[in-house]
Amino acid sequence: QDRAISGRVTDRANGQGLPGVTVLVKGTTIGASTNSDGTYTLSVPASATTLSFTSIGYVSVERPIGTASTIDIGLSTDTKTLGEVVVTALGREEQKKSLGYSVQDVQGSELTQARETNVVNSLAGRVAGVQISNSTGAAGSSSRIVIRGAKSIQGNNQPLFVIDGQAIDNSSFSNSDSGGGIDYGNAASDVNPDDIETMTVLKGANAAALYGSRGANGVIVITTKSGRKAKGLGISVNSTTSFESPLKVPDFQDQYGQGSGGVFSYVDGNGSGDNDNVDESWGPKLDGRLIPQFTSPVVNGVRQATPWVSPGKDNIKKHFFQTGHTLTNNVALTGGNDKAGVRVSYTNLDQKGILYNTYLRRNTVNLNAGADITSKFKVSTNINYSETRGRRPGQGYDELNVMQQLYTWFGRQVDVRDLKSLYENGGRNANWNASYHNNPYFVLGEATNDDRRDRVIGNLTLTYALTDWLNVTARTTNDIYNQFNQRRVPAETVSNATYDDYTEERIAVLERNTEFLATANRNLTEDLNLDFLVGVNRRDNRVNRSQIAAPELAVPNLFSLGNSATPLVSDNNFGTSNSNNAGILNPVTNRRVNSVYGSARVGFKNFAFVGVTGRNDWSSTLAAGNNSYFYPSVDASVVLTEAFGIKESALSFAKIRGGYAEVGNDTEPYRLQDIYTGGQPFGTNPTQTVFNVKYNPDLKPERTQSTEVGVELRFLQNRIGLEVTGYKTLTKNQIISVLTSATTGYTSKILNAGQMSNKGIETILTLAPLSPSSALQWNITANFAANRNRVDEFDKEGQIKNLVIGSSGFGVNVEARVGQRYGALFGDGFLRVPDGQYAGQIVFGADGTPLVDPTRKVLGYYTPDWIGGITNRFGFKGVEFSATVDTRQGGSLQSETNMWGNYAGALTNTLNGREDGIIGAGVQRNADGSFRPNDVKASAEDYYHGYYYNVRESSVYDASYVKLREVRLGYQLPKSMIERTFVKGIGVSFVGRNLWLISSKAPGIDPETSFNNGNTQGLESTQIPSVRSYGFNINLTL
């Protein structure tokens, strides 16, 4: 006969009741789960001897029943050991120990306290093998994330973002490149950190086979907070305030002002005075002599001479950059019981950039709701609406990026405060140089780039339990956004001739997935568990873009398409383009992928696991006959400590794992058939041209093969943990647009043969140096990852040896070269003595400047040798302190800030030899072909012109760095202090991010920079400096 047992399960750490704990009579399926206050009641048969208590995130406990009718128990949290659960493909929670591949978690609390407006940046330094590069310090700029190195020669190398089982779009519609443009951020930055419960990084293709092609680069799985575990009504408020300032600014000289050859005198800044339109600082010494300047008073039509002095070395740093300010406020309401839960959250982000008149503002509303309609039928939904508005600065080497002027082409006597007051007092674009430059405040104040993105990400999931081990699920997910960009270029800007120019761009993006799943979890025998899933999915992607420009506006200062004086220009047309408006090749793109997939995982005695997956896709982008492709994966893991019953030894946990996966991939739409693009008409004659890309009707799917093996070890009651993973990937039949010699008639061709391989190692080491029972807690997490990458081939015939991925505006290519590492920087190097006593020395010409080697060469690679990070965490009675340092070692970048800053005499470096000239370190070639030490002196102006203009090698630097990424000091008020109040928790933390560039070899810039988040990295193009941020966070739970 049965009898009743009841009790309460609590969290050992705080004594609070734990809901949802599974209480089972061991050896049976008889059980119950605890209520919201942690209590349970269970009817057990007389034969029952033991109860087991299990809950995700807690150490499982077994208790003999004996004769007790009440069993209370406290569970201790377990983040390290056997019960750890991670969210993997399709939003499934799986035991980490059962996985044959590497995954790593980041908790949401870490993201909200150490806040980044772009959530991608928060992962920097935290996850082994994940490289994050934030492009610039502009508010809302994009970030690039690459896991285990680039796998695609030319395509997307960034992971898929998945929220609650829903893949979301992470496009970047930025048009910033070496020549200018706007960085509109990457779309995943819309995800609000406040709504994130956990982020899990699935690193390899193994982890991602079930997501399809887009998982080949890894997957970032985001689980949002839900109301499910709430007990009654809960309110939480989170507020973060932070301040931003430039992390690193070039070292400017303050000894010599504008001009050339030591001569300067201002008349109109347009060439009427002596060198008054020269935008370099090779002018007179800033010694207080009297010279007419743009700020000098004009008396009777004559500009007076005023003292020629420096406004200070740090004029730009102190006075041009403003302190950025970010305020984020979040309030969330949760409510629920054991049958249903709701969480509603509202977040407001208001960021003021470090550049004048730039900002990013975002409002997010998130609804997460789920309910058990019946015991068998569940419904859940997550709907997120965000509205993002930005006012963004120009980027790249362009007059509309103010850094181009301030960092390089600048008169060092110019006080930026004078420029500001000129602009603010109605001077419009008046400035120090009327020929080539704008007033930077005018550019930021009037040549504005505004954008607005409205986005809804939502899903609806219905699940029905056919039996206690078989569920069926139907799910629809939608990610829809509309972006509206407005670019204004006033007539007064120097490159814009006579009219105001206005451009509107509209982008509409949709991703829709419709999915049916059946999942099963069943113990086949006592020792054998089967976890099984089959599904079908249809994915539709639609992107519509249009760009309309009014290059000549009628009424000045009225930026509206209706105000156009000439016919509007649609930049959906290729051909002749006007300023800053790049053409859009495919304004409308549609793609559909149908899929059937399945997975099965078998567990033996809960210590040995084997998983297999398989997926077949049919993609609309490939021709019939080539558009169906299947790809499988298999992985296995064995927990050795359990398999061999190892207990009570120094080794607390040991697991080995391994896996193999293939992922197939399709291509972009419309790459099968050649096209003719239209251009602007010539008078009334329409125009057309053969498009310069040769398409390919025979494209076959790409394929990535990936193998990984790993070991996870923990020692001394888990106080030491070590996880090591080795992997190899091979991506073949890559669909690449190879740059072809224009002599072929096309500048590129779509080929289907590229192959690239990666191999690497990742390690994660965790240490708890102090005893778990001591009041002071100290945890160290260190990660290290090295990836070696090789470009194997481009075409089967081997005709193509090199592929240009991108290039700087001044002759440095980023290339993939057969047999070499990805990301070669290729350009002009110094001519060096090949051999003999002067071997390796730079050869100087008769004018005393270095000669160029006529054979261009690889000047470096942007891909690093290794990356790593270390986090130290200390906890003491509610106070937590943590610090993260991360590093990238190896890799190079070419810097235009340094190239032009030296050329133009703006940097301190150019003070050498100002008065006496310079004899460069190197040799001269004698008439007989021998060499002698260089004995030709050049003026500093000629020397720096030649040294930096002729040779790109002179501005290539080692991109290694060590950064103090984050420091956080937090304090959680002890429960005892607030017990009697209505407040459930109060915490406060002080956080600094990107605080200190501890070591770096690239002068004056943060080497972690780029002009966008694409594959063209390793080029610095007078970039907006990255920011240091510091601030505080308060959270309150009611």
């Binding site: 009427s272 290059p551 498009f691």
Partner: protein, 466 residues
Amino acid sequence: CTKEFEAINTNPNNATTANPAYLLTNAERANIFRLFDIPANQDGGELIIQHWAKIQYTTEDQYGFRATSYQSIWDGFYAAGLQDFNQLIAIGKQTNNPNLQAVGLVMRSYLFSVLTDLYGDIPYSQALRLGENVLTPKYDSQEAVYTGLLADLKSASSLIQTTGGGVDGDIIFGGNMVKWQKFANSLRLRLAMRIVDAKEATAKAEIAELLNGTTPLMTSNADIAQFKFLGSTPNTNPIYENRLTRDDHRISRSIVSVLRRRNDPRLPIYADKPTCGDSAAFYRGVRNGLTTSAASALGPLCSTSKVGAYFLAPTAPGVLQTYSEVLFLKAEAIARGYVTGVAATEYQNAIKASMEQYGITDAAAITTYLAQPNVVYNAANYKESIGVQKWIALFGQGVEAWSEWRRLDYPKLPVAATPAAAAAGKIPVRFRYPANEQSINTASRAEAVARQGADLITTKLWWDKL
């Protein structure tokens, strides 16, 4: 489940078939724009040949040509120019439209000749064949290129049917096939004369055939092959477009002094007077190849002479070949004894045609000009007479002026004041191959360099024997 795929992947954005009229309009516009744009003309031929000089960003005037410039000339002419004309030739064949085929052949030949005159050996026979998977076209010798071009122009002329319809979308001659035929033959005359020092027998035979009196050639300024740009963007002259934002170019001191010594009535058209400074009453040309500091020492921008307003207008024509040039070629052919005639007469008519081209029609003034000792035709040194006058007449046509100077070696021009080391103290005689050929057509380029000589701006081309 895949039956809608074909519809989904049908390109909704761009045409998959061409309209030859639209292709022709764009190919003419884009390539003639390119011929007169910064890299080939304004910072290329016009500086090297000392029609123009630079007072700001003087690097190119010192023969420091940017790697990106060679690239844009090469990529533009091959992928956006030759490719389109090649397509037109193919469409002409397919649709049995010999006139379209001929126009394509003439323009393709023109662009190939520009490319080979700039670089020397170039991809020709294997060029434009990506459809046959030729990914890395071999370079042909310049001799082979010229052989091919002369043959193409001959067949173009014979393809033309002057009765019946012309071609649609033609902005150069408005579809007038009589003029196209004259242009085809006049261009062939230019190219035949170009190889006269390298392959005289061929040149002589070609020239004799062309000047036999029955082959149609340009016969007046109405036959000039030129492209008339429009008054508004994006269809304006590239020099106008450059001057919207830049003011770096000035008239060269070299041409100002040659014109002034001859009281040449073309001077006020070629140049404007300064608007400030001591020399506002005179044409103040700028020495070529100044350093930035030497150029700024000249004084304010307004104190030196700009290129004449005629050339800066949005509608200024892009000139491919003039009647005057044909007469100079005829004079030279007579001087070389290839055909009979009076060289001095053709020479004088050539100068006269050049003047008339700019609206200088005062017969007495022209007669006075022609009678000057430094203008009178010198049979003993016809290369100097023709070289100097042709150089004047080709003002604005930088690439052709540079080629003819290299061939005739007149006028004697000074080297840039401070030449870049790469020039080895000489005026450049070619451009370097574009940088990307080293990356993506490595072996073919290397083979050309081995045959032609080092890839330097000092390496002489095949036809530049003297």
